[in-house]
Each structure stands twice: as C-alpha cells, then as structure tokens.
Symmetry: C2
Subunit: 430 residues, 2 copies
C-alpha cells in the first residue's frame, strides 16, 4: 500500500474543527483596529496592522509551520510535505480591513486556513506536496489605491511594481516609507524578485465569506466558485474656479462639486443600461476641495469601481463613463484634469479539477453546495495567473460585507474549513 | 469756534496712507498659515491663529490704542475720545481664513481700520466719541460650523451661546477645550456677559473687499453697501445599508452617496428656479462614509449654503430643498437622518445716515463710488442688531475670494482706508 493514504480515507469524523479556538482567534484579531468594535479598520502598515501581522506569525509558529515573509510583507507558513521538491499547494487570504468594516472578510481565509492545517495534523494526515498558508499584503486598496497589492506582485504584474515608485497615501507618505515604518526595508529592485514562476504552486485555494446573500437565502452550506468577476477602478478629477459661496452668482460659476455629483449619477445610469444584473458600479469616494460650506468647490475627486463577469460589457460601461465625464466637464465649463483607469483586470476562471475536488469534498462531508460566480474579487484573481485556482464560499448574514454588521456563524466557517482541509489533502497527494 | 474741527475740514492731502507699511503688514499676517503661500489657512484657535492674534494686538499697541480681549477672543483697540462717556464709533472685521483661501478677506478691514486710526492721528484729528477697532473671532464657520461666532455673541444671540455647549470640531474637540488651548479659559456663563447693549456703539463700520467682480468691471473705486444678503445654512445626512461594491447588486442597493449627489443637483435646480440673479446656493461640503473605493457609501453628509437679498424667496428655496431631500430619500430607500437648518438669518439694512457720510467722504476724496448689495455676509450683519451699521467695499481681482488668487491692489485698499478714516472722523464728531 502507498505511504500516502487517499484524502478521502479521511473520515468526516476524523476532521474536527476547534470552533471555540477559531472564534477566539477571529475575535482577538478584530481587536487590532483603529475604530471601535464592532467596526474593524486595519490599514496597510499601520501600527494595528503590524500588531495583527505578529499575531498571525505567532499562530503559524504555534501550528508548527515554517514562517517566511517577503519584501512587502506577504507572510507564508509552510508544512513541508514528504516530497518537498514538488510544487506546493497553497491557500490563504488577507487580514487588512477597510475603514469601518467587519471582522470576517479575508480573516476567515487566513485563520480558517491555519485551522485547516491543524485539522489535518490532528487527523494524522501526512502531506506529499508541501502545504502553505499565505497571508497577502493589502488586498484592500485603502492606503495606496492599489488592491491586491501583494498578490499582484506575486503574479508578476510589472505595472504594479512600477506604480509603487510613485504612489503616496493621503498623508503624502510614499509606499517605501510606509513599508519601512512597518519594518519592511523594501527597495524598488526587491519587487521583481517577488514575482512567482508557474512552478511555485500546483494549486491555490481561498476560503472566503460570500459577501452576497445567495447561500444564506438558499440555505446552502458551501459555494464553489467557477469564475471571479472582472474589476476595474477609475480616478477622476474636475477643476473649476471655486470662489465665495455668497458673492459668485450662479451663471458665473463652474462648480467642480456639481460636476462630480452629475458623474456619480451617470455611473449609476450607465451600469443600469448594461441590461445585466451582473454589471455593478460604485462611487465610493467623492471629495471636494476646499471643503468649506461657504466655498464653491474648486476641485473634486472621485474614485469609481465597476465590475462584471463579462469583461467586454464592463469595458463598455467604462467608455460611457469617460464620455459622460467629458460631456459634463464641457457643459459645466470645468476642466477634466484626470481620468485614469487605475486597473482594468480580466476575469479569472477557476480550475476544473479543483472545482471537482471541492465538489467531492462537500459530498463526502455531506454538505450542500452550489457552483457560483464571485462578484467580489480576491487575491485568487491574481494567483490564478501563476497557479490553477479555486475558491470556497461560506454563507454570511444578509450578504453584508465591508461594514460592521458583517457576520458568519462559526458553524458555517467550520464547514468551510473542513472542505478546505479535505481539498488541500487531496491536492497534496495528487 | 468748536474745539472739534469738522471732519471735512480734514483736507484730502492731510490723509496719508502708509501703503508700504500696510502692504507689509498684510504680507506678514498672511505668513501665519497652515498651508503654503499663496494660499492662507488660519483656523480658529489654531497655533497660527494664536500667533496672528498676538501680531494684531502688538500692532494695536504700537498705534497707541488701549487693547482689551473678551472671553472668546474678540479683540478691541480703543482710541479714547474727548467725550469718552459717549457711545463709541467702532470698525473692524476678521482675520480667520478658510482652508486654502487668500490674504485679503477680512484682513483689509482689520489692518485697514488700524491704518485709518494712524491716518487720523497723523492728520492731527482729535476724536470726540471714542474710536475702536474690533477684530472678531471666527467670522468663518470652518472649525465649529458657526459663522460670525464673535459678532453673533456680541449681538446677544442666545442660540449661539447655547449651541457652543454642544459643538465639536472634526477632531471631536469641544469649543471650550479649543478656546482653552488658545489661552481663553472661557466658561458657559461668560458668554452672556459678552452680549452688547444698544448703547455700546453709535455706529459700526466695516471695510472689506467686494468678493464680487462689479467694482473692478465698472472701474469704480468705492462700493457703499446698502444691504447684506440673508444667509442660511443647512446640514443634511442620508443613511443607507452600504455594503461591498462588488457583491451587492444594483437593485439591492440604497446608496447614501447617490442620494447626496442628487440633492446637490437639486439645490442648484431650486436656486435657478427662483428666477432671480440674487438667489445663490452652494454645496461646499459633501462627505461619504466609509469613503473607500470598494464600499457602497452607507452615510453621506452635506452642508448647504443659500442666500438672497429677499428673505422670503430664500426661504422658499430652503423649503424646496427639504422637499427634495425627503423625496430622494424615499425614492432611494435611504434614511434622511438629519435635515437641520443651522442658521437662517434675516438680511440687514445699512443706516441711511452712515451711507450718506460715506458718499460725502468719497466725493470729498474725489473717488468714484456706487451703492451696492453685499452678497457675502460679514460680522456687520450681526453688529447691525446692536448698532447702526455701514460697509465700504473696494475692488478685488476678478471678484475672486476664498481662494489663493484673491487680490486687491494697495492703491484700492488705501482708497478704502481714506473713506473709512473720513467717515469715522465724521461719526466721531456727531
Ligand atoms: Mn474586502
Ligand atoms: Mn476579502
Ligand atoms: Mn470669508
Ligand atoms: Mn470676510
């Protein structure tokens, strides 16, 4: 007989998730926040982010993993397999949190992955390919406007390495200064050394809350993702003459704030015109300068997010937004001083064999499952460029995410951890 | 013969403005700023505001005035008249500056008033009624959302004294803590002691840049104000469910940011519907929460300023804005969690006899003048409640104000100082 038992020889009863311990870790991690509970705010390279990173590294060490960090702070915890020379099987997610968000987004895929490792260890499983947990740096774009910063670099996207030369945060700190402040003395030339080859991983898996209402509504335990919608983000700036809110009469104005308001409504209109429920668009940032009640806005800044599972349809929306921005600027006599498509990523397809392994694992565990689209994007979108990729979704309360009310039950999380553990075991032996 | 010569016995040639010195003072004061030149930012009770206050007090002392400060930091510099028991003639303005504004708004009326005192002294003039220069605290609403804070208190407006119990700035500092930080150990009970009686001043005058383009366009040196437009300000907040910008599909959204965008455009529409060129409305503040590119706004906050020389017509605009806010909230399924009319002041009329004295002074000085409306409001709007009031405008470049490009030539400022000096002299002898 083989020294490596089939993953499916792991009986469901041998896979025991420590729900009390896992919930405690989720709660402890949530306490590293710049805003009061129940909200969580954990911004890249902030003091709280650095503390949270230490917490993750110590959990990795306690779980017996070999811990490594790369130049920008992606954290890797490896369980060496019997054939450590083979490409490893990796799983992970992020722990950064946008302002006033919740404690499950990303976190479930990092702490859950660590628990999956412990589950497999406790079951007596011995990996053939090494298993690795990854905590990605800055999945959220909050600080430098670049989402999935860590996974984009691992995926070898040169444009991100170049953009990091110039980006600054809201306080005019450079990326490199911010990294240094968090203990990462990274330089431009270190970034291309992070790029992964296609030989690094045989598979990448991510466990995540659905961030949508479908699984909860349909009473299904496990979502198995088949594709990730294609995201794009745009920065826009209008400039007018500003002036005193009392003294400048209406016909003499060119109000940059009203141009921004019009564009925000145009984004909604163009998205609705796509005719598909799968097209979404959001103006999450709209800032006015100088921002005083008695000053006509002389500058406005918008950041627009638009996504679709159909890349071409999404690109049509972007074109319409650009046409509207130009038309509004002309009609209002303001200057369209910036229209920058910051990123315009293609969608990613999940690997058929991984989808299949997840389906088999769900059945083996007697958990209901369904195939679905991920409308939110994830580090998996970029890991898919260097590795076969798959994602597991679990239900979350009302589909809420990116706000304090975000919630997933520990039972649902435990189900996800078991499917992840079983799939990791299977892929480790392949 | 009378011991007090007629003010008009002051020959134009005896009134000499020190233009070099006055320009230097304007430039020196502008250097107390939290943002780089040419912009000026000087916020109530900030470090720079405290330094600027010391500068004003030392100039007052150098000019031989007796200096006094009240509980909130209104600064008074008095030249005692021969009949010091009579109600004094006062003149003044403010030196606080909204973010990224210019160096003439308010400043011309404080440094110009001081120069008018020096001009009169140099001419050998002896006041009968005392003459007083006032520097008002916080004409601009930047820090606590209350405009003309100092003059409203002097005017005995109880609502302001009450509001100060509760207001906080953007960093959650109370008014009283902020004042204490600037050296003003003021308590609630001190505020009503500041209220002036109608016997305090026989007249109040304010010299100010026009903040509009008319004098420059028409080549007129002096504007004599007949009335100040009636300002109102409104705070609005919308609340929705927020959520993830990728995961929440369009029909499931109630976006508080789009509600704000709609209301901003509705404000413009309702103002235009008034049919009068004199109606203006501005959304100078529009803030989204949480303010992340991948989060649907769950809260939005707007501050709206609307003004008219016709109070009733302005109040009609406010009613329409409120109706729109209610309609938008309903249509978008968001909550209108705040609609607060922060202030809704009546217009003020300037005193006929003061207007007349200013006209005579302009003619005497051989300066062209015109009667006009003040569309911006000023501390004069509130001083008018406790004293006969008049305002002198001087031309400014393109009507610009509340931005770094704000500019008035020293020659135009000197003309305003002379008209002010002659009018003060006349009213002092009345
Ligand atoms: Mn997220
Ligand atoms: Mn996430
Ligand atoms: Mn002003
Ligand atoms: Mn002013």
């Amino acid at each position: 007989t083989s020294p490596h038992p089939s993953a499916l020889s792991l009986s469901p009863s041998s896979l025991s998730v420590d729900m009390v311990g896992l919930q405690r870790q989720i709660d402890e991690l949530a306490a590293f926040s710049d805003t009061p509970a129940p909200s969580v705010t954990r911004i890249l390279y902030s003091e709280k982010d650095v503390l949270a990173r230490s917490y993750i590294k110590s959990l990795m060490e306690e779980a017996g993993l070999s811990v490594r960090e790369d130049a920008v702070g992606n954290i890797f915890g490896r369980w060496n397999g019997a054939e450590a020379g083979l490409a490893a099987v990796a799983t992970g997610s992020h722990i950064d949190a946008i302002p006033y968000s919740g404690k499950y987004d990303g976190v479930v895929g990092v702490l859950g992955a660590l628990e999956a490792m412990r589950v497999l260890r406790r079951s007596g499983f011995q990996p053939r390919r090494s298993l690795e947990v990854i905590m990605f740096t800055s999945e959220e774009p909050t600080r430098f406007g670049i989402s999935c910063l860590g996974s984009r670099l691992l995926a070898g996207i040169e444009a991100v390495a170049n953009a990091l030369k110039h980006v600054v945060d809201g306080q005019n700190n450079s990326f490199f200064d911010a990294a240094k402040g968090a203990g990462y003395d990274v330089h431009q030339e270190d970034l291309s050394n992070m790029f992964l080859t296609k030989e690094s991983y045989s598979a990448f898996l991510e466990l995540h809350i659905e961030q949508g209402p479908i699984l909860e509504q349909e009473g299904v335990s496990i979502g198995i993702v088949t594709a990730i919608a294609a995201p794009a983000s745009i920065k826009v700036e209008f400039e007018g003459n500003g002036g005193h809110a009392g003294a400048v009469l209406m016909p003499a104005r060119n109000d940059a704030g009203l141009a921004a308001a019009e564009l925000a409504l145009a984004v909604e209109k163009h998205v609705m015109e796509s005719g598909s429920i799968d097209t979404v668009g959001t103006v999450g940032i709209l800032e006015l300068h100088p921002g005083a009640i008695n000053s006509i806005p002389s500058k406005s800044h918008l950041e627009i997010d638009t996504r679709d599972i159909d890349e071409k349809r999404r690109n049509t929306v972007i074109e319409k937004i650009q046409q509207s921005a130009t038309r509004i600027a002309k009609a209002r006599g303001v200057k369209l001083s910036q229209f920058e498509i910051v990123n315009q990523d293609p969608p990613a397809l999940c690997e058929g064999s991984i989808i299949n392994a997840m389906e088999v694992a769900s059945q083996h565990l007697n958990l209901t499952h369904k195939l679905m689209i991920s409308r939110a994007y994830h580090d998996s979108l970029f890991m898919a460029r260097v590795s076969p990729m798959g994602m597991i979704f679990i239900p979350c309360y009302k589909g809420y995410s990116h706000k304090p009310e975000e919630y997933a039950s520990i039972e649902d999380i435990a189900n996800g951890v078991k499917v992840l553990a079983l799939t990791l075991a299977k892929l480790s032996l392949d």
